[in-house]
Amino acid sequence: MANRDELKALLQEVFLLTPEEFRFDMTRDDVETWDSLGVVSLAVGVHETFGYHMTPEEASSLRSFGDVVAILESKGIRFDEPS
């Protein structure tokens, strides 16, 4: 599975989003299930899926799904490949 699809599946699973409502440009204001435990769950999921362990500062600074992509891209994980 492409990185983009893997991240999409992870975000949907962690925040209980349906495929129909999911968008990569969603912010935490768009996601009613975005809470501190959700961010912990996301950080664990990122580590399990992409092998990168987010720092507590990175995790707490997340404001959108785009921020997750940006952090991972900064670590060399690419999301621009075709899915």
């Binding site: 209980l16 809470d35 912990v40 769950s41 664990v44």
Partner: protein
């Protein structure tokens, strides 16, 4: 101390009758006791000399996964059977149909011992394991008392459909949730029966309250205590009781004697209203705090059944942060759409700490002989599917 193993055969009754007439204390255990022989021997060896005569012992607490051997005094049990005869207005009852294991305290006192004391016939069946035998007994019933646990009600209604058994005059439920939603259908199936919601526990040997089913519509209202029983709730809501009929000792890995002034916990949480009626909130081990949120597993099960028509149960485990948590098991195996529907219920109705750690499914939930979910086996089901999980 003798061990009687229940084999669901007529010989059980003869052996029990003989054991009750003999002074020597005995333990009645199911064939699949769920404990090792070594554990049982240790439990019986722990009994002091004054409990080695005129007492009896039964196993309990499979539903919490922690076995316990409960010791009762025969005189107390006979006194309770007499009290129940009056409270349950059993004089007109001529026979009692056995659909539960006799090693289950409810059936033992309410049916076998009551029948013995009041010279009523005990009709043995294999319960829902042999529905043909049970149907024959119900068709032949004459002024019969029939005792069930709540989980047997849907099976009965599903199998016997619209059949009417008008020879049953008393229908008792105890153990697990009272089948309030099935009450009208049950009354149609048993039109001559007075239906009762019974509440108790093995440590009470076993009855604490009894209420006629139509004396209210709230299944959590289990009524007032029977004469000889006092109830209270602790600060945390734990239901506690003192009873003239209660167990005198138990073994849960260690021997414990129950003092005359001791308050025993029933294992449930609840409250007592101004009329002295007990209202249950759930099993004590089913209500806990998770990240500061009060989690009531019975309430979560109610939510789940809005989007799931199969069976469902929880077992407990700790998450990666060491917090108490719960895992949901569905049966039969769930389709992805069904799991998504359940997750949608969690998302819309419950904050994240209420969400289970995982959603799993299996072909069937493991049950104890009394119809309750066997939580000990639930957590170790070999062939289960994990549909969804939280990541911590």
């Amino acid at each position: 101390v003798r061990i009687l193993v229940e084999r669901h055969a007529p010989e059980d009754l003869a052996a029990l009758d003989e054991a009750w007439r003999t002074a020597e204390t005995f333990a009645l255990v199911p064939e699949k006791a769920g404990v090792s022989e070594e554990w049982l021997r240790a439990a019986l060896a722990s009994l002091p000399s004054d409990l080695r005569q005129h007492h009896f012992a039964l196993l309990t607490s499979g539903s919490t996964g922690r076995p316990k051997l409960v010791v009762g005094a025969r005189a107390r049990a006979e006194a309770l059977a007499g009290t129940l005869h009056d409270v349950q207005q059993s004089e007109e009852v001529g026979e009692t149909i056995l659909a539960l294991p006799l090693s289950y305290c409810y059936a033992f006192v309410n049916q076998w011992l009551w029948g013995r004391l009041f010279a009523r016939t005990l009709v043995q069946t294999r319960g829902v394991a042999r529905l043909d035998m049970l149907r024959a007994a119900l068709r032949d019933a004459r002024s019969a008392m029939f005792c069930l646990v709540g989980s047997q009600a849907p099976l009965l209604l599903g199998y016997f459909g619209e059949e009417v058994f008008d020879g049953v005059v008393r229908l008792h439920f105890a153990g697990g949730a009272f089948p309030q939603n099935d009450l009208d259908r049950l009354q149609r199936m048993f039109p001559a029966a007075s239906i009762f919601n019974n509440y108790g526990c093995a440590e009470a040997m076993p009855r604490l309250t009894v209420r006629p089913a139509f004396d209210g519509r709230d299944p959590r209202d289990v009524g007032p205590p029977v004469p000889g029983v006092a109830l209270r709730t602790s600060g945390g809501g734990a239901v506690e009781f003192r009873s003239d009929y209660a167990a005198v000792a138990f073994f849960d890995g260690e021997f414990h004697r129950v003092g005359a002034d001791d308050w025993l916990e029933s294992g449930d949480l609840g409250s007592i209203d101004e009329r002295g009626r007990l209202h249950l909130e759930g099993r004590a081990h089913e209500v806990f705090k998770r990240y500061g949120e009060k989690i009531a597993l019975p309430a979560l099960l109610e939510s789940i059944h809005c989007g799931w028509s199969g069976d469902a149960a929880f077992y407990r485990e700790r998450d990666a942060n060491g917090e108490e948590a719960h895992v949901l098991v569905l049966a039969p195996r769930a389709a992805d759409a069904a799991v998504r529907a359940i997750l949608a219920v969690f998302r819309s109705s419950h904050p994240r700490p209420h969400w289970p750690l995982r959603i799993e499914s299996a072909e069937a939930l493991p049950l104890l002989a009394n119809g309750k979910v066997d939580v000990g086996r639930l957590r170790h089901l070999p062939e289960r599917t994990v549909h969804w999980r939280q990541r911590f």
